[in-house]
Amino acid sequence: MVTESMDTNYLGDEEIYKENILDHFKNPRNFGEIKICEICHSELNPTCGDMVKIFVKLKNGNIKEAKFKGNGCAISMASASMLTEKIKGRNLKEVKKMSEREIHEMLGIHLGPVRLKCGMLSLKTLLKGIEIMEERK
């Protein structure tokens, strides 16, 4: 009879819905639109239909203002809320280098392969938005 033969390490026993994530989900920061902006892009997470639209206003190569709209799970919404806070005031070149590692650090939790798509949706949207803006130039 198998009981706990397979250890549960890989499952990650930490709580996903930590206080900060629930807080950003329930009270999203920078939620809304920017009427005139350089970057405005939306992406969909095909596994669950989560949608994020990101608006960024630039000044001298720095991010002056960032806002988002969308709907989806707590992870994708909290991640978008935190990301807009994190990138404000930062140089675009730096932001372009952001990766999965920073999203994990930002959220403070480890996400499995399925849930990672939710966590990464806002960054993916932002990076795609930057790419489109640069192609336009």
Binding site: V2, T8, Y17, T47, G49
Partner: protein, 408 residues
């Protein structure tokens, strides 16, 4: 009621049910996605690798002969299970591959303006292949509408121009059991072929292809206690004989010359290359296992669980359950949402409680988003190895989700 199927004894065949997830005993409520695999099936797969690990239809050595016998016997068992002839049962990778095979083969001779009819409650696998081929060949794709969880106005959608009707027997979202026999009758009256997607029905209810009089039936092994990577395409002999092969290669030929080839007999004409031998043999065992329980008893037990789940879930405030109310009209699939909480968040919190459910659009995006008007849903699905305790734990888990997100 649990006596109906000797639940305690059967559960012992699934050692995975003893597993703990986040320190809690597993409540597996995701059998519509993939079923658990009982020990006799696992043993049978191992038996192939340990005792007669050889290719089929090629080797003349003893192991090759034994493997061939077992693989052919598996076709025979599956055929008996759905009341078909052995050579009408083709092993594929899964129901999706079976549907793709049909979509490509059956649309070959269709002309611009010919119609294909599916329903609004199809899984993507019974929608996207038809949709894409219809686009390519300028065929018209029409939909049988869903109203209050049921298919309606079938006879208005199927016309004399309809060439193919392909409908799911049981919805993987709503659990509705569709009257595919009647839909098939309407299809045939209009000169169309009837394809039944049995991915959710063959594992759970008695499916008899003669009784349904369908032209084709597809299903997947991994949803009916079998291994992954094995699926089935049933087709009426005379139709399969008229169709060209879908994949070309070894074992599907009778004779090959540099400029031309002749095809092998059914079912091998459609089984090119080395097939899923271990998986096919495993599926044969799975079918034997299901028959030993009895499909009618299983249906009765799952109905009992479904009725219990519907009743319990509807009692919870802020929970919205989709589909028809009557458990007799549906299979053990119950989709729901908790107001204001995304399905992914619901399933993530439930996972922490040891409860495995599915959350998302369930590979039926048009049904979930356009018909139900939801971004996603949570689905609990049952099999004979589930208990009322699993459902009680689900209810407790839902209360926990509400605590985490609503703080009460």
């Amino acid at each position: 009621m649990q006596k109906l199927i000797h639940l305690d004894k059967l559960r012992m065949d699934f050692p995975i049910l003893e597993k703990k997830i986040h320190g809690k005993l597993l409540n597996y409520l995701d059998s519509s996605a993939t079923s658990l695999t009982p020990k006799p099936v696992l043993d049978k797969v191992n038996e192939y690798y340990n005792e007669y690990n050889a290719n089929i239809h090629r080797a003349l050595h003893s192991m090759g002969e034994k493997a061939t016998e077992e693989y052919e016997e598996a076709h025979r068992k599956v055929a008996q299970f759905i009341n078909a002839k052995m050579h009408e049962v083709i092993f594929t990778k899964n129901a999706t591959e079976s549907l793709n095979l049909l979509a490509y083969s059956l649309t070959k001779k269709l002309k611009k303006g010919d119609e294909i009819v599916v329903s609004e409650m199809e899984h993507h696998s019974n929608l996207v292949p038809w949709q894409q081929l219809a686009k390519e060949k300028k065929l018209k794709l029409k939909f049988i509408k869903v109203k209050d969880g049921r298919l309606v106005d079938v006879d208005k959608v199927i016309t004399k121009n309809t060439k193919i009707v392909s409908v799911t027997h049981i919805s993987n979202v709503l659990g509705t059991i569709n009257d595919v026999k009647e839909i098939g009758r309407i299809a045939h009256n209009n000169g169309a072929l009837m394809v039944v997607d049995g991915a959710q029905s063959v594992p759970h209810i008695k499916v008899d292809v003669k009784e349904l009089n369908c032209d084709f039936l597809v299903f997947s092994g991994h949803k009916m206690l079998g291994p992954t990577g094995i699926g089935v395409l049933y087709g009426k002999e005379e139709l399969l004989n008229k169709m060209s092969p879908f994949l070309y290669g070894g074992d599907m030929i009778l004779e090959v010359k540099f400029k031309d080839s002749k095809w092998n007999d059914l079912p091998w004409k459609f089984e090119a290359g080395t097939g899923p031998i271990a998986q096919g043999i495993g599926l044969g065992k799975a079918v034997e296992y299901l028959e030993s329980i009895g499909m009618d008893k299983m249906k009765e037990y799952e109905e009992f669980l479904t009725e219990y789940a519907l009743e319990k879930l509807k009692e919870i405030e802020d929970v919205e359950v989709y589909g028809v109310d009557n458990a007799k009209e549906r299979s053990g699939v119950v989709s729901f949402n908790i107001k204001g909480i995304h399905a992914h968040d619901v399933s993530a919190v439930l996972d922490r409680e040891g409860i495995a459910v599915r959350g998302g659009h369930l590979c039926a995006m048009p049904l979930v988003t356009q018909v139900l008007g939801q971004q996603s849903v949570v689905r609990a699905s049952f099999y004979f190895y589930n208990t009322r305790q699993d459902i009680d734990n689900l209810v407790r888990g839902i209360k926990k989700v509400k605590e985490v997100f609503h703080g009460h």
